[in-house]
Amino acid sequence: MSKAAELLQEKFPEEVVEVSEFRGETTIVVKPGRIVDICKALRDDNRTSFRYLSMIAGLDYLPQSPRFGVVYNLYSHKNKNRVTLKALLADDAAPAIDSVVQVWNTANWHEREAYDMMGIRFRGHPDLRRILMPNDWVGHPQRKDYPLRGK
């Protein structure tokens, strides 16, 4: 098992939902509630030291429920490895999760993009505005029920 999964099993046993390996990549599914604590632990613990956030991606699993998910891809320059964190959001109508901007500043724009494209709210984000679409745009284009073109 990867060090990140070990660390989370040890510190947050209640939060870890599933650990999977695919093509040499570790994906850890966690509950969204304590995502900031989890990210901080992964960043600061010497065994993992994931000080670099590669990206955040919003996911829409329509018609499944829970419908929305958020994926974090972390990299450790020390260990030269990666881990993918995934949290599935409980509320299909108004998906929300705590912002990790306080953990990595780079999360700012990634979270704005996920908000813009998927309509996921990041609680505690300093500046949650649309980023790619115009400010007065209606709807969130990358949701699965948003048409590719026209109405």
Partner: protein, 398 residues
């Protein structure tokens, strides 16, 4: 009333862009100024948003590939390189050594072309007109090589999932050798024009300083991170496509300012040139024509089999009509693109289209630190900052 009490000060909002020659595309930056001092810089992006991630969800993997070329259009083939590697990882296939080497060669030539474009425009923005003409002289030769392999200059679309479109054409090897041999001398021309130029130094030294810790926090990668002294190169630390076979040095900066990032990119061009040379030396040992993974799920059968053999015909037909069907799963694959970490996160539900494709563009992430860099600097520095970030708006907006 005394003159003192009548003095009123207010800050000014200035629109830089979205259509300004130094913003390198359609970038709009909202600057709050106190005189010439920048109090706040808020980049407004999205003018070039084409919804590539959304479009890909409705296309087969093959039909996604032309869109990948159009992400960072100054290094079109490198984006496709990352996408093909991600697909190969998802499918679990190996490509022949010859394919890996040719891909490395094209990617490194593209890196030189991209850096040359950056050098020319960055210099031009800061008032040095001449480097542009010298840089484009060599870039033109790389464009010509791209034209040789595919007929297109900016978007060769030469890589395929599981291989290449065709083997290298005749004439490209001598052209590449000529380029590789003459480039170091040409490179010296750029150094002569800028490196010790007093105006250049004044405009770039101590402008846009980023410490290593801050660069990590802001998610910087590639030459931006290395300029701040972060010793990290995906080609060396997480090698893909046989980069471990090649010998190259990862240049590092010390102060994390615009000048250091300039030196890092300059040295990277020479190192890329070295890698191309090593590929050229080893290519003759690899069997010509070995340009596809031997996997009928991915690679089209040889034309001979399509015309004369029912199994080959069916294979060809199914691949074209239905597309590639990877297993259910998700992968993240990133490469060292000229501008930093270019990543592809593919979620597959087993159908011939990606369920979700997230593109992690280096320009998007690097640009997000604009406000951090610009605060407290002068208005003229904002042009140096946009230049040093080496952004391509097609990559920022996707």
């Amino acid at each position: 009333m005394s003159a003192e009490t009548m003095k009123r000060t207010e800050t000014m909002l200035l629109n830089l862009g979205p259509s300004h020659p130094s913003t390198h595309g359609v970038l709009r930056v909202l600057l709050e100024l106190d005189g010439e001092l920048i109090l706040r810089a808020d980049p407004d992006i999205g003018y070039l948003h084409r919804g590539i991630e959304k479009m890909c969800e409705y296309r087969t993997y093959h039909r996604c590939m032309p869109l990948m070329n159009r992400l960072d259009y100054l290094a079109g083939e490198v984006n496709l390189f990352g996408f093909c590697l991600a697909m190969e990882k998802l499918l679990g296939i190996e490509v022949p050594k010859r394919v890996q080497y040719i891909r490395v060669m094209i990617a490194e030539l593209t890196r030189i072309a991209s850096h040359l474009f950056w050098l020319g425009t960055h210099g031009h923005d800061l008032g040095a007109m001449t480097p542009l003409f010298y840089a484009f002289r060599e870039r033109e030769k790389i464009m010509d090589m791209c034209e040789m392999i595919s007929g297109a200059r900016m978007f060769p679309l030469y890589f395929r999932i599981g291989g290449l479109a065709a083997d290298l054409p005749e004439g490209i090897i001598p052209a590449a050798w000529e380029f590789v041999k003459s480039f170091p001398e040409k490179h010296q021309d750029y150094h002569n024009l800028l490196t010790k130029n007093q105006i250049w130094i004044e405009r770039t030294k101590d402008v846009g300083v980023m410490s290593a810790d801050e660069a990590l926090d802001w998610g910087w990668s590639g030459p931006m991170a290395r300029g701040s002294g972060i010793n990290w190169d995906l080609r060396r630390d997480n090698p893909y496509s046989s980069y471990e076979d090649f010998d190259f040095v990862v240049p590092l900066g010390k102060n994390g300012d615009t000048y250091d990032r300039y030196l890092v990119r300059m040295e990277e061009m020479l190192q890329a040139n070295r890698i191309v040379k090593q590929v050229l030396e080893r290519l003759p040992d690899l069997p010509p024509g070995d340009i596809k993974a031997k996997d009928p799920r991915v690679s089209l059968p040889p034309k001979d089999a399509v015309y004369n053999d029912i199994a080959g015909l069916i294979n060809h037909f199914k691949l074209i009509q239905e597309g590639i069907k990877p297993p259910v799963g998700e992968v993240y694959q990133c490469i060292e693109a000229p501008k930093g970490e270019m990543g592809f996160y593919i979620v597959s539900d087993g159908s011939p289209q990606p369920f979700r494709l997230k593109i992690r563009g280096p320009s998007f992430v690097n640009l997000s630190a604009m406000d951090k860099l610009a605060r407290g600097r002068l208005l003229a520095d904002s042009i140096a900052l946009i230049g040093t970030m080496d952004i391509v708006l097609a990559d920022v907006d996707r």
